[in-house]
């Protein structure tokens, strides 16, 4: 099976998060990524973009956030990889401590759930910082 991919560039602003989600759904359909797998990637994408917008700092706006979706067969499994690259402050979400889940409403604090979501929905997460860009790969696998 040949490898195919789709790309999108957006600005690191809240107003573009909706467009990114829409792109992901269209790209998934074009690449034959099933809805359930697209949903997993969608959950991760929302977290990553929210982090970039909220915590990327001013350098995040120096250039585009580059998104790429590719899908390939690996033996009997299929794989979809969503890559997100941004110019925000260097941040490796994989190193962020995972907060324990709150036990009561009073204990619960906003934030810290993004990593829980990403770790739960993605099969693999990989991060590197290269040429001034944060580069995150989010992988989901499934069998048709």
């Amino acid at each position: 099976m040949s490898q195919a991919s789709r790309q999108l560039s957006i600005r690191a602003v809240r107003e573009e998060i909706g467009a990114a989600a829409q792109w992901l759904h269209e790209a998934s359909e074009a690449l034959g990524v099933p809805a359930a797998q697209c949903h997993r990637l969608d959950m991760c994408l929302d977290e990553v973009l929210a982090n970039i917008v909220s915590h990327g700092g001013p350098t995040a706006l120096d250039g585009a956030v580059e998104l790429s979706l590719s899908s390939v067969a690996e033996g009997e499994q299929r794989v979809a990889i969503l890559q997100v690259s941004d110019l925000g402050m260097p941040f490796n979400p994989l190193l962020a401590p995972e907060k324990p889940l709150a036990l009561s409403l009073d204990d619960a604090e906003p934030g810290g759930l993004g990593l829980v979501m990403m770790r739960r929905y993605a099969d693999d997460l990989a991060y590197r910082h290269s040429k001034g860009r944060n580069e995150l790969s989010i992988t989901v696998r499934w069998s048709d």
């Binding site: 909706g18 969608d42 959950m43 929302d46 009561s104 619960a108």
Partner: protein, 92 residues
């Protein structure tokens, strides 16, 4: 006195701030018992969960309560993963 907020479609990073304003506004105007009808919500991310948390705390501070109603399976899954099913009032 209670009010109902019925988000539809998606509640994610792109619209969570607006939803929070609306929901907190409902709380302050209509009293401290608010129901969030989730039957039309297809998708919620952690940004959306923060809205529910913020509103639940605000309701509690006023001596009232936030109730989440009829979450779809995908939304219920997120509520369970986050542990929010144990700290928020959710009814089917």
């Amino acid at each position: 006195m209670s009010a109902t907020y019925s988000p539809a479609g998606r509640l994610d990073g792109s619209n969570a701030a607006a939803a929070e304003s609306e929901l907190l506004g409902l709380l302050s105007e209509q009293g401290a018992a608010v129901t969030v009808d989730l039957s039309k919500l297809d998708y919620v991310s952690s940004a959306g969960l923060r809205v529910f948390l913020s509103a639940a705390k605000a309701a509690k501070a006023k001596g009232g309560k936030l109730t989440l109603l009829s979450p779809k399976p995908a939304v219920m899954e997120v509520l369970q993963i986050s542990g929010f099913d144990r700290i928020l009032d959710i009814q089917s």
